[in-house]
Symmetry: C2
Subunit: 373 residues, 2 copies
């Protein structure tokens, strides 16, 4: 009964939209310039048919004029674009997505709104996606149980890919994502993932923690405490394990660690304070190695305002991320810089590719020595 010509669409789409920047649509600015304050431009939408009629070509030729690498003569294209400019035509991406199975939408799944670093990631990703002609669907996840909702949203909007920006994605969430309908690609950003069906783009945190351990050891620190994020997630384990191994290799001793349930500055404050006034009261660490900057900032606050001690005088602190907050003189955090822009560029490259890319792309970061250690 039901007819469906295009099943299992695995065609390669080589024709991408171009001319997607407003700079290429001078008629927009012209119209706006001529407007009065209380005046709205006639919202009567111009469609490809109108342009076709005006240019004396068919609707399909209009579409070709707006796509790269389309078989169309330069002369015809010029005429079509001129007609489009005069009428104020802009292609409708929603309709294009419906027809082509490529929505041009990328879902950014975010659960880590308490971490200021998230804002940096959102800025970089959305800007670079916009430059490349993609739209960003911001999909928040309140907590772990919010993941199915988020992925449902993404799949209902036919996104071309979903990017996991969170920190506590566990394997169950990734399985949910892969199971969601119409989510074609799943990319784990700024985290590693062991799942073979994902593509992860992240900073080389193994190398990073080796460098961090080297720095701390050579600076003479001997009583470290590792401050890790939520337990039970494979992503966390990597930095922690690398640290523990490296420290043992260098010092012969086993370093202790604590876990904080969320990457939340206030919570880190509380947990670090509890640790230093409780189990670690009599064996106070001389350096806190933190899994990321949010934990490190909380740790500094705990040391200074909870214990009345000094950083780095009494206890040093090292973070990871180099978020803007880390550079403020109040914290002046020694940390590890992730090359977010490079990683975002790599993400775009992965999105462009139709073939299976190599998984687990690692990018080197760099150590940022400031005043906290």
């Amino acid at each position: 009964m039901r007819k469906r010509a295009r099943k299992n669409c695995t065609r390669v789409h080589k024709t991408n939209y171009w001319l997607l920047r407003a700079g290429f649509y001078p008629w927009l600015s012209a119209k706006i310039g001529a407007m009065n304050d209380d005046q709205t431009i006639d919202p009567g939408v111009v469609i490809a048919d109108d342009v076709a009629e005006a240019a004396g070509v068919s609707r399909w030729t209009v579409g070709r004029a707006f796509r790269k690498d389309a078989p169309i003569s330069a002369k015809t294209r010029k005429r079509v674009l001129a007609a489009a400019a005069q009428l104020g035509y802009v292609p409708d991406l929603a309709a294009a997505g419906l027809a082509s199975d490529r929505s041009g939408l990328i879902a950014l799944l975010v659960n880590d709104f308490a971490n200021p670093h998230t804002l940096v990631v959102l800025e970089r990703l959305s800007l670079i996606l916009q430059n490349e002609g993609w739209g960003s669907l911001l999909v928040p996840m309140r907590d772990e149980s919010g993941a199915p909702d988020a992925l449902l949203t993404a799949s209902q909007r036919r996104v071309d890919a979903a990017v996991l920006n969170g920190t506590w994605f566990d394997d169950q969430i990734i399985k949910t994502a892969l199971g969601a309908r119409r989510v074609k690609k799943l990319i784990v950003f700024a985290r590693t993932s062991e799942n073979p069906n994902t593509i992860s783009i992240s900073c080389d945190d193994v190398g990073a923690l080796r460098d961090i351990v080297a720095f701390a050891f050579e600076k003479g620190y001997r009583r470290p405490l590792f401050v890790a994020g939520p337990d039970s997630h494979s992503a966390t384990v990597r930095r922690k394990d690398t640290f523990l191994q490296e420290w043992h290799r260098r010092s012969g001793a086993h370093a202790p660690f604590i876990h904080v349930e969320q990457y939340n500055i206030g919570l880190a404050h509380a947990r670090v304070l509890a640790a230093l006034t409780g189990p670690y009261q009599d064996r106070r660490p001389d350096i806190l190695i933190c899994e990321n900057d949010a934990l490190a900032i909380g740790a500094i606050d705990a040391i200074r305002y909870g214990l009345g001690l000094s950083v780095p005088g009494d206890i040093g602190v090292i973070g990871y991320d180099d978020m803007p907050l880390a550079a403020l003189p109040c914290y002046n955090l020694t940390t590890w810089h992730q090359p977010i822009t490079d990683m975002a560029n790599a993400l775009v490259e992965v999105l462009r590719q139709t073939s299976e890319p190599s998984r687990d792309q690692l990018f080197p970061g760099r150590f940022i020595q400031r005043g906290s250690a």
Copy 2:
């Protein structure tokens, strides 16, 4: 030639999607639970026709079953939903948007990524929109010239509304937005706008600054300096002008002010330091009233680490926003709390309405006294 039955669609849409939460789609969880790690669910997409066939009804009845207030018998709906559940059907919102002229997408236009408060706004808005069945299109604007690009993106995606979250939107940008095709509603969030074609949802900053002035004056401060954001934008003027008026009314004196070109912590640091070591060296203020928290944080850093003075001992600082950073013990900023959640709820209400809402909704905030003044 061209036929268009539905011109100027001003119909009232009373039927909204329901059952949009994943909790209502138990088959998703079931399928996922049964999966192996390296297995992907058959992405063969189930459409309404399939469900119709399985339930023995027409395709249109399937659509009705998924909408509220649709004329359908409870029995039929139950049968349809059962069939949908078995097949794993989920409505396609992209196609629905194309057909109905309501995409269910809201564009969040953001230009203020240097301000940590933006993350709070994004979290609240995207969560509440998701709960109500809307999707959030995150549209970044690098600078003022990026506004046309951003609005083009929004209009090409047929958003139902565009929400301006930025801080330096001037009237030209708003005109651009209103001129953009297919952007039906324009809402200015957390800022006021004088433009009669917009709806602004904001905190009552006139009342807020009255309270702030009252506090500062009664605390005995007598030499204020107002630290404002970018000049030339009407949004900025309101807090500044209110402050200046109120201070004059109370003290009989005219208070001075400076401008910072962006709401950026580092830049505020530099500008405040320059002011205090330059023009204001010999008439040092005893209190800095800042237009928002980002400026206030920069001011505190400048006072403490640039001048070596103490806050609040030598100079007090008051902010506005109550962003999470303000509560950290390092800054402990006295500020004004904006009721973002209430404002987000009001936004949803405006989005729901088809009639013209009253413009300029104001919400009361509250003074948060901490240690910086």
